[in-house]
């Protein structure tokens, strides 16, 4: 990792607290990264004048030019494949995939090239590529616009996979991902783009490493772990449970690969119970890996099997049914109840 941006403890500079949306935080993080390093370039469909369909790259082409904010032809394999070439030429490309469901045409380039080039070259070649993917459901869209494909990438050795859940993390994590010398798949919780959060935008460094989990709320009865869009729902669930006398520890995983499992196991050793939440299908979703690792490492601490509150094992349903598909507060609390009742 280049060291222009330290992840060490914050400096003593005066705080500048600002309330920013998650989406705008990513924009700001991209801008910072581009200002810091002229080799950072963005490429994707409609990211120029339009600023992307979610406006995450708004104004960046105007400010940095068409060579650094590149509207690509409509072809995702092309986006990622040319990004590989640019990285080989010394650039640090940040690809935007318009929606989760449109990353698959680029799957071959990601799995066979992006993930493997470093190993193929025995370390001679670095591919500092970030692939941004807005993901998840709950926005009332038709097919392919609400998917959670993170497990495909987390299963792929050679990639790093992260997801932010709040504005402050979004701001720092995108910068850290760009600074990382390995390829990073960066999942953005699209239904949280408009959520606001207050944080110190003048801080000189990120509060924690990109690959660390974050214990957002301490608790003693059950551990709740998740990432991305469901984190907010987990926090709401914990608050609701508290009023009923259940103390829930909430962990935002942030990194899916590598998996910061120690934070999870430390919590489970305390609570004895774990509920994993995500929107992706349960079957071979992140919850499967977390359940397997936690059970292996906390076999005698677990008082109940790990409960998985994930999406059903079906293609994402039509939007009028998505409420019944997504893990909401009730389904999370149902999972908590099941963990407690076991």
């Amino acid at each position: 990792m280049s060291t222009t941006m330290s992840t060490a403890a914050a400096t003593n500079a005066p705080q500048h607290l600002e309330k920013v949306t998650l989406g705008r935080s990513i924009t700001n993080g991209l801008r910072k990264a581009m200002e810091r390093d002229p080799k950072v370039v963005l490429i994707g469909e409609d990211i120029g004048k339009l600023g992307g369909v979610f406006r995450i790259t708004e104004h960046l082409q105007k400010d940095f030019g068409e060579d650094r904010v590149i509207d690509s032809p409509l072809a995702e394999s092309g986006i990622v494949g040319t990004a590989v070439g640019m990285a080989l030429r010394g650039y640090r490309p940040v690809c935007e995939i318009q929606f989760d469901g449109f990353v698959y045409p680029a799957f071959d380039q990601i799995v066979c090239q992006v993930a493997k080039m470093h190993a193929r070259s025995l370390g001679a070649v670095k591919l500092p590529i970030v692939i941004r993917i807005p993901f998840g459901g709950g926005i009332g869209s038709p097919e392919h616009h609400s998917e959670s494909p993170e497990a495909y990438f987390a299963h792929t050795a050679g990639l790093r996979v992260v997801s932010c859940s709040n504005p402050e993390d979004a701001y720092w994590m995108i910068q850290q991902a760009i600074e990382c010398d390995d390829p990073v798949i960066f999942f953005e919780p699209k239904r949280r783009y408009h959520d606001r959060g207050e944080y110190d935008t003048s801080a000189a460094s990120a509060p924690r490493s990109l690959f660390e989990a974050n214990v957002l709320r301490e608790g003693t009865d059950v551990t709740l772990v998740g990432y991305g869009p469901v984190v907010k729902t987990m926090l709401e669930s914990a608050a609701a449970a508290e009023s009923e006398g259940t103390s829930i520890e909430v962990i935002d995983l942030r990194s899916l690969s590598p998996l910061p499992i120690d934070t999870v196991t430390a919590s489970v050793r305390k609570t004895g119970r774990l509920v994993v939440v995500h929107e992706a299908s349960n079957f071979l979703g992140m919850g499967a890996e977390i359940a397997a690792e936690v059970t292996e490492q906390c076999f005698y601490h677990l008082e109940a099997p790990v409960v998985r509150v994930g999406g059903a094992n079906i293609p994402y349903p039509p939007s009028r049914m998505e409420e019944d598909f997504l893990p909401d507060l009730d389904r999370i609390l149902d999972g908590v109840d099941r963990a407690l009742a076991f």
Binding site: D46, L50, D71, L74, P105, P142, E143, A312, P318, D330
Partner: protein, 387 residues
């Protein structure tokens, strides 16, 4: 054909300019002013059209424009999640759609509400998709109109494979009009950049598949002008794959009808594949989620208004005495009626209960589907018990 493209390259003919017209290569039978232009190759496909046929074309155009307006309104009123407008592309859709025979097969994108309409599809079908009631939910064999495909370009390979199947069935080049079958596949200008579309060209050419690729070049792929996708007119892409391509004025229903008819005949006779580029314009936003003011100037839109496909046919019909005010009014009235039915149908559309989510994931029994459905019902029942 030069022996050496590298040193003797000619300037690209009729290169697409953002605001330019379709250039001299474009087939046109009806000028923007509604005047009939003769064309040595294509007149023969329209001479048999009766005034009644043409009035039917006009009716189609008006009704699908209304369908589109209602889709837009319904979205704005919260009844639909999204609406991809066909405004401006009516002639490209009706002209090509009307050129089909019943047993031909259509592969649309997400924007071919007009083609679906002329195929006899219930317009509620596409509304149900954008309302979020299903992801499509119709039977493609009912009107030989496939489900909408949202992943850009994916359907071009389906169309090619289907056409390969038609050929394997022996339904190409027999000379029997009830048997010979063509496939038409719609896609946009942006789609031409996708690997899948180019692979479809490779496969279709390799297997002489009876498929007509119908590219509606509406000048934009969301915010990107067609110049981002190609240096040269898109119909010329076919040359690189060894099959013919033609640019037609997509706002001219007669030309679109004639050119599509010709190409479908060619495909049916075993001379497929072929590529049609219908040169047209997306008058509205990409979808209701889009804001075109961010990336294009209104002057461009204004210019294209002068090439309106409906006005053009109306002028022609009126001028030639094939239709009068009474007729035009009757169509408008029919459109009002049609719109009302559309709205009512949409608003009253039933939403399927959550437990049906598991019903059609697999055609055969699947234990996980059954287990999850049962768990869902039990979970729901637990709330009822609690209340």
């Amino acid at each position: 054909m030069s022996d050496n493209d590298v040193v003797q390259q000619t300037a690209p003919a009729g290169a697409t300019t953002q605001n330019g017209d379709g250039g001299p290569d474009m087939i046109q039978l009806l000028t923007p002013e509604g005047e009939r232009r003769s064309h040595p190759d294509y007149d023969k496909y329209v001479v048999d059209l009766t005034p009644q046929d043409l009035r039917g074309f006009y009716r189609d155009l008006v009704l699908i424009r209304r369908l589109d307006a209602e889709g837009y309104a319904l979205q704005r009123q919260g009844e639909l999640g999204l609406w991809p407008s066909l405004l401006g592309q009516e002639a490209a859709q009706v002209g090509s759609g009307r050129a089909l025979r019943p047993h031909d097969f259509v592969f649309p994108t997400y924007r071919e509400h007009g083609v679906g309409f002329v195929r006899g599809m219930d317009p509620q079908s596409s509304l149900q998709l954008f309302r979020g009631v299903s992801q499509g939910g119709w039977d493609p064999t009912e009107h030989n109109f496939h489900l909408y495909t949202i992943v850009i370009g994916a359907q071009t390979l389906h169309a090619t494979g289907y056409a390969m199947g038609v050929k394997m069935d022996g339904n190409v080049g027999t000379g029997d009009p009830d048997r010979d079958t063509a496939v038409i596949c719609y896609f946009g200008d942006g789609a031409t950049s996708q690997g899948d579309v180019n692979e479809a060209f490779v496969y279709a050419a390799s297997f002489d598949a009876p498929v007509v690729f119908f590219c509606q070049n509406n000048q934009w792929a969301i915010s990107e002008p067609v110049s981002k996708q190609t240096r040269i007119p898109l119909y010329q892409r076919a040359r690189g794959f060894g099959f013919p391509g033609v640019r037609v004025d997509g706002n001219d229903i007669l030309a679109t009808y004639a050119v599509t008819k010709h190409c479908l005949d060619e495909a049916r006779n075993g001379n497929g594949p072929l590529l049609i580029e219908a040169y047209t314009y997306r008058m509205g936003a990409h979808t209701t989620a889009d804001d075109p003011t961010k990336y294009r100037v209104s002057a461009e839109v204004e210019q294209w208004k002068l090439r309106d496909p409906i006005l053009r046919l109306k002028t022609y019909l009126a001028h030639e005495g094939m239709a009068d005010e009474t007729f035009f009014q009757s169509v408008d009235e029919e459109a009002d009626q049609f719109a009302q039915e559309l709205r009512d149908g949409c608003i009253n559309m039933a939403t399927m209960p959550g437990e049906t989510m598991w019903d059609h994931v697999y055609a055969e029994d699947h234990p996980v589907m059954e287990a999850e459905r049962a768990a869902f019902l039990a979970y729901q029942a637990s709330f009822e018990g609690a209340n």
